[in-house]
């Protein structure tokens, strides 16, 4: 009698404790962003400024350095030349850079790209569909996708040269 009552009480308290613990975890600790490390990267297709179609899935087997940016975001502007400097070197090693502009006028983006002489693929996310699919809110946000199409890391905020290099290293195929 006394024993069964204790079991009863323990189980009721345990159920309550687990439910509350999960709620608190989910509210205060858990990462609830759409794109997070460990998830498969959502496939998307965009036309780059050259008019080439870029579809993520076609880059299986390569690492993809996916950067969301805008010309009105100073840290984005700052990291562009760094990415440009490292682009060719890592392309050879199987890492592609893709910079997705968050729906600015083509003219603005073109002038910006010409001014900085950027050569890596840049696309404009008209209608913000890709940004929405990746749940992008602060700029810049960089998403590192490995050769299996899995997100390795999500980085928000500007990057130093060292960081860009480190990130590119992270998604080199075969590492």
């Amino acid at each position: 009698m006394k024993r069964s009552r204790l079991i009863m009480r323990t189980s009721i308290l345990a159920v309550i404790a687990i439910a509350l613990a999960y709620t608190f975890y989910s509210n205060f600790i858990a990462d609830r962003s759409v794109a997070r490390a460990g998830n498969d990267a959502v496939n998307f297709a965009l036309q780059d400024l050259e008019g080439e179609r870029f579809e993520l899935e076609e880059y299986r087997g390569q690492g993809v350095f996916l950067n969301f940016w805008g010309t009105y975001c100073p840290p984005c502007v700052k990291e562009m030349p760094i990415m440009e400097d490292l682009y060719e070197e890592y392309k050879e090693q199987g890492v592609e850079i893709m910079a997705v502009n968050v729906n600015e006028p083509e003219l603005t983006v073109n002038q910006f790209v010409n001014r900085l002489n950027l050569t890596f693929p840049i696309a404009i996310d008209k209608g913000m569909r890709v940004s929405d699919a990746y749940g992008i809110s602060p700029l810049p946000t960089t998403i590192l996708i490995d050769e299996h199409g899995e997100i390795v890391k999500v980085h928000t905020g500007g990057m130093t040269e060292g960081q860009v290099k480190e990130f590119l290293e992270m998604i080199k195929p075969g590492t």
Partner: protein, 554 residues
């Protein structure tokens, strides 16, 4: 656990105060007190009896009404504290809270911010308080409802004299033996007419009414628990979507939170005001000094993407809903609700210029620049061409004195034009913004003259999906049912017994004693029974009498 056997033979659980069956007070010390404590029928609350393990101690803690009241009071105080200054969500969205509170409310505001009270209702400790309330609701109810139910079920008609004597409403009458039977049946009839349920045993009877009111508190607690569970589920992934989206007139955007499944278009945004000369409202509008808004409305169209194509590829869109969204009249589709939340009037859309010869004043052509997608160059005919060298939708000079844009919204558009004419084939550069026309590379022969501007309105819609609503609604309904059940009915019992030749009447109710006595008086009308007295009131009178005489003396 040891059972306590009453002299009537009923075995009561340990901790019982009043025998569940006959009502005889059990504990020795209870004998001393004048009136019985009838709360929960004097049953053994489950928690009171075993307190050996830590589990039992936690259980006992949450089972206590006192703890429950403390939790209510603490929640109350904490909630009130949060309204001292506005919460973070109600301060201007551009304000930096770390500065805002100190600036706006001084020293106290700074402390308020530092203590995190600007986000009080989502703080861990506030949530913990509410969670504590929830746990207390569950355990305190469980602990009481089961034994109470058993006690009410096992109660016997004939009660111990000690039980009768120590009821709050109690009285005895001596009537002749011949009368007793007829009196009893008369009283019974009257009570039955008053919707009392009668149970009889050995010539004694108990009349009972509204027992279901006793379950009211537990029913409303179940409702509250359900409601709290609903609120808790909100934090589980996929249960709740809360997004918002800005849409320009004529534009179509993906609905956030739908994985690109839905697109929403804004055909028109409407802002209407009340007529200042309105016969009924004119006076009030005049006093307020500014126009009063009558309507915010977005004529929206919802599209669904049919072929599950790759994100970014548009695929085919099918219109699934069309609705004028107004405040208080959201659009619903597939569990998603779209609310009119905010708006921005007259956002720049296109700007029109013409090329003008400064000397002669002759103008050449007209160019309409779509501020969201300007062309690289505009041919104005006859060898006149304007190239846009650069465009800043929301111009400002950054810290390095370089022209930049603050955002992609054309709130302050600035262009750097290159003007090519037959006379100036190598091109002249001008810097043109709103009420600005500079010539950074020296004096020009031509200038860009502003002709026209077109604006449109932008609407902000809220996108919500809330799967917890059915649970919340069920919780609310059950809560109200329980509350009404417990508040608008009272559980009344009247015991009428023959004891040593006299007729004893005792009454108990969980509230509204005056009504209980009225019921008894009504039942014994036209009999020789004496109306029982309210022993609490009698005692009060005893205390009052000396007081009153004192007062009269001075």
């Amino acid at each position: 656990m040891k059972k306590v056997t009453c002299e009537c033979g009923h075995k009561n659980p340990h901790g019982t105060e009043i025998c569940e069956s006959c009502g005889k007070p059990i504990e020795e010390n209870l004998e001393q007190k004048k009136l019985l404590d009838m709360r929960y029928e004097g049953v053994a609350r489950r928690s009171q009896t075993y307190t050996t393990t830590i589990i039992d101690k936690i259980w006992m803690f949450f089972s206590s009404v006192k703890v429950g009241i403390w939790l209510i009071v603490l929640t109350l105080l904490a909630s009130a504290l949060g309204t001292l200054f506005p919460q973070e969500m109600y301060i201007p969205p551009t304000a930096n809270p770390s500065i805002y509170y100190a600036e706006e409310y001084g020293y106290l505001g700074e402390i308020y911010y530092l203590l995190g009270l600007h986000n009080l209702y989502s703080s861990w400790w506030y949530m913990l308080l509410v969670a504590g309330l929830g746990v207390s609701l569950i355990i305190a109810s469980l602990d009481r409802v089961v034994p109470l139910h058993r006690a009410l079920k096992t109660q016997r008609v004939t009660r111990h004299t000690n039980f009768m004597k120590r009821q709050r409403v109690f009285g005895t009458s001596s009537i002749s033996q011949e009368e007793v039977d007829s009196t009893f049946s008369k009283v019974r009839e009257r009570l039955e007419a008053n919707k009392y349920k009668i149970s009889e045993e050995n010539g004694n009877f108990v009349a009972e009414k509204g027992r279901f009111a006793r379950w009211g508190p537990y029913v409303n607690h179940i409702g509250l628990i359900l409601f709290l569970i609903g609120c808790m589920l909100r934090y589980f992934p996929g249960m709740y979507i809360d997004e918002h989206v800005w849409i320009r007139e004529g534009d179509q955007v993906v609905v956030p939170g739908t994985d690109g499944q839905y697109y929403i278009a804004n055909d028109r945004f409407l802002l209407e005001f009340y007529d200042e000369n309105d016969e009924i409202f004119g006076e009030a509008i005049e006093r307020s000094g500014s126009p009063v808004v009558k309507n915010f409305q977005t004529d929206a169209r919802l599209y669904e993407r049919t072929d599950a194509d790759t994100v970014g590829d548009l695929g085919e869109l099918v219109e699934v809903a069309e609705h004028p969204i107004r405040v208080n009249f959201p659009m619903s589709h597939d569990g998603f609700n779209f609310y009119q939340l905010d708006y921005k009037l007259n956002e720049l859309k296109t700007m029109s210029f013409t090329l003008e010869n400064k000397e002669t004043g002759d103008t050449f052509g007209r160019m309409d620049i779509d501020l969201y997608d300007p062309e690289p160059s505009y041919d104005l005919g006859d060898g006149h061409e304007v190239i846009i060298r650069d465009y800043f939708p929301d111009y400002f000079l950054n810290n390095d004195d370089v022209p930049s844009t603050r955002s992609k919204i054309p709130d302050n558009p600035v262009f750097i034009f290159e003007m090519i004419t037959p006379e100036t084939p190598e091109g002249e550069v001008s810097f043109v913004g709103i009420r600005q026309n500079l010539e950074p590379l020296g004096e020009n022969d031509y200038k860009m003259t502003f002709v026209d501007v077109e604006t449109n309105n932008v609407t902000a819609l809220g996108v919500r999906k809330d799967r917890t609503l059915p649970i919340l609604i069920a919780g609310g309904v059950i809560f109200m049912i329980g509350l009404i059940q417990g508040s608008y009915w009272a559980h009344r019992r009247i015991w009428v017994q023959r004891i040593s030749g006299d007729v004893w009447i005792a009454g108990h109710t969980n509230k509204n004693w005056l009504t209980l006595r009225k019921d008894i008086d009504e039942a014994i009308k036209e009999t020789n029974l004496k109306s029982p007295l309210d022993q609490v009131e009698e005692k009060e009178k005893e205390v009052e009498v000396p007081n009153q005489t004192n007062k009269n003396e001075d």
